[in-house]
Amino acid sequence: MQTQFHNNALRLVFPGDILSTNVAELRVALLGHLGAYPMAGGVIADLGLSNLIDSQGLNLLVALFRECERRQVTFRVENPVPDIQRLFTALKLAERFGLTPAPTPVLAAT
């Protein structure tokens, strides 16, 4: 996972999909990066390379949000692909993740 520290914010660039098979590894990496930048006033999760996030991936992002709350730093998500943005909106995560509302889902439940 690549990181950038700029303007007092730590940008965490997720390297790909966030799935049940890699959440454990990602969690360790995230905690390591948060620990390496204790001075960061904000955390940005850059999802530009993630096309798929499953339920465990969502839980990881929520856990990251909560960890930021605990550390009293801001958290926001950037660059989600439209499908992921729609999922965030449906799960009421978009606002908490600092995202503007996504368009209406293409495949809505009937």
Binding site: L19, L52, S55, L58, D83, A90, V106, L107, A109
Partner: protein, 527 residues
């Protein structure tokens, strides 16, 4: 086109009367019939009025009024691309004409003319024209064979009805790798409510195998017509291959024939299969995983004693079965796909689009696929579920879920190449969530417990239907469709976020056995 015994007919074109007379004398010595024209336009008139195929070569000057030699050549190519043309030119003109080599000129002659050189060039041109025409003729005949093979592949509905009889539809797609191939299918109605189908596959592929396939197709059809039973037909073909054809002392024809005989009894509602060397027949009944029947047998022409695969399958009210030649299995293996996905793609390709599909698919062997559907004759719209994918997953497959997802995606995109990307994302997420749930809870991670992933397409409704099932007891309470997705920040934890995501991302869901079998539907038309 048989080779002509005449020396040939040559059109000489030159605006200089002396040169024309000289050429006429030289070429005439070769025994060629000769016609002349004094410019390009006149030459074209001659070719059009007599018909370009009546000529075997054209020898033309380059510098002429009205049409020069190069312009004449272009027009000749449009009239008859097989007619060889020689351009007579000076050395200085030759450089500027080099481009015309690409335009199909057969030869150049350098002025002043040498009689021996001129005659040799004309003889070569005549020979080239005849070879090209022979080749074109063979290609046309091959295309005719291919067209006949395609027409012989039946697509017939049978909606006649006896009391209690089911209706059926048959769809076939034939894809030889060359213009003609060794796969065939023969259909016969021995009685009302009864359909016999034979799918055959001659070893090898090409025109020879096309001929052998046509031979056996006729033989099988003839025997079907007089009521000979499939086993006896198979025995007769086997004997013919082993004794009469290969052992007649006149040189061996070392072919074998794989054939599967399918008898669809729409009154007794059963399918009887006799398989000699073809891949197993796959049946799909709604609500059940696809099942393979009557595999494991040897082709005709291998052994004196037949070793057929035999099965009788109850039909139920509605369902379908698919059978294919082993070329389809080869293609599936080559592409790393399941046969269902390859068969589905072929069956979804319209007959008119098959030639183009064949050219781009790079098949390694002839491919033939046939599909029966049966349904009540006067009931609702018949079930048109086309199986795309089936995988049985041991309960300990959880760590390999990424590979399962990748395989599923590859097969899905092969069968439905125009699947919208947003729909694909939803499908993959839902399949993943459902499988994780089935492997973790339904199978409890145990290797001996097996989960099934099945995908079918309903082309008429443009609807994709995916079922994940496991052997577990399901939940104690069936989950009703949620009013909305959970708030992940609420204190009460959500143990079923994956399932609730599925409800959000699908068009609809159905559950059976307390959720141990979950069917997810995706409306492709809406995506």
């Amino acid at each position: 086109m048989p080779p002509s015994s005449s020396p040939g007919r040559v059109l000489l074109v030159d605006d200089d009367p002396t040169t024309l007379m000289l050429l006429r004398t030289i070429v005439g010595r070769g025994g060629f019939a000769i016609e002349t024209a004094t410019d390009g336009a006149q030459a074209l008139d001659r070719l059009r009025s007599a018909g370009a195929p009546e000529f075997d070569a054209v020898l033309t000057d380059y510098l002429m009024p009205v049409l020069n030699g190069l312009e004449l050549l272009e027009q000749i190519r449009l009239l008859d691309s097989t007619l060889a043309t020689i351009i007579n030119t000076s050395d200085s003109e030759r450089t500027t004409l080099s481009a015309s080599l690409k335009g199909g000129v057969c030869d150049f002659l350098e002025k002043p003319c040498n009689a021996k050189v001129v005659l040799g060039a004309v003889e070569r041109a005549v020979g080239l024209t005849r070879r090209q025409r022979s080749l074109h003729s063979a290609e046309r005949r091959l295309a005719d064979v291919c067209s006949i093979q395609e027409r012989l592949a039946p697509n017939l509905p049978d909606r006649s009805s006896l009391p209690g009889q089911l209706a059926c539809e048959l769809t076939t797609r034939i894809c030889p790798i060359h213009e003609a191939g060794g796969d065939f299918v023969s259909v016969f109605h021995p009685a009302p409510g009864s359909v016999q189908l034979v799918l055959g596959d001659v070893s090898g592929h090409g025109l020879l195998e096309g001929f052998i396939a046509a031979y056996f197709q006729g033989m099988v059809k003839g025997m079907q017509t007089v009521g000979i039973a499939p086993l006896q037909i198979a025995e007769a073909c086997n004997r013919f291959l082993l004794v009469e054809w290969s052992g007649n002392g006149a040189g061996e024809v070392s072919s074998s024939l794989s054939a599967i005989f399918v008898h669809l009894d729409l009154v007794a509602r059963e399918l009887r299969i006799l398989n000699c060397g073809c891949p197993a027949l796959h049946c799909h009944v709604p609500g059940r995983n696809p099942e393979a029947w009557a595999g494991q047998s040897s082709p005709l022409g291998w052994f004196e004693t037949l070793n057929p695969g035999v099965a009788t399958v109850p039909l139920g009210d509605t369902g379908s079965c698919c059978l294919w030649s082993d070329g389809l299995l080869d293609q599936a293996k080559r592409l790393g796909l399941t046969p269902h996905a390859v068969a589905a793609r072929l069956l979804l390709t319209l007959p008119a689009d098959l030639p183009a599909f064949r050219r781009t698919s790079n098949f390694a062997d002839d491919v033939l696929v046939a599909r029966f559907r049966w349904f009540p004759p006067d009931g609702e719209q018949p079930d048109d579920a086309l199986p795309l994918y089936h995988e049985a997953l041991p309960g300990d497959s959880g760590p390999g879920i990424d590979a399962v997802q990748e395989r599923f995606q590859r097969n899905l995109l092969h069968a439905i190449p125009d699947l919208p990307s947003s729909c694909l994302t939803s499908v993959l997420l839902c399949v993943r969530e459902a499988l994780i749930n089935a492997l973790k809870h339904g199978c409890a991670g145990l290797r001996d417990a097996v989960a099934h992933l099945t995908a079918v397409l309903r082309p008429r409704q443009r609807r994709l239907e995916i079922t994940v099932s496991d052997p577990g007891p399901g939940r104690s309470q069936v989950l009703s469709a949620p009013a909305g997705l959970p708030d992940l920040f609420a204190d009460t934890g959500h143990v079923s976020l994956g399932l609730e995501m599925i409800h959000f991302l699908t068009t609809s869901t159905r559950e059976a056995r307390n959720g141990a079998e979950l069917t997810m539907e995706f409306d492709l038309a809406a995506a």
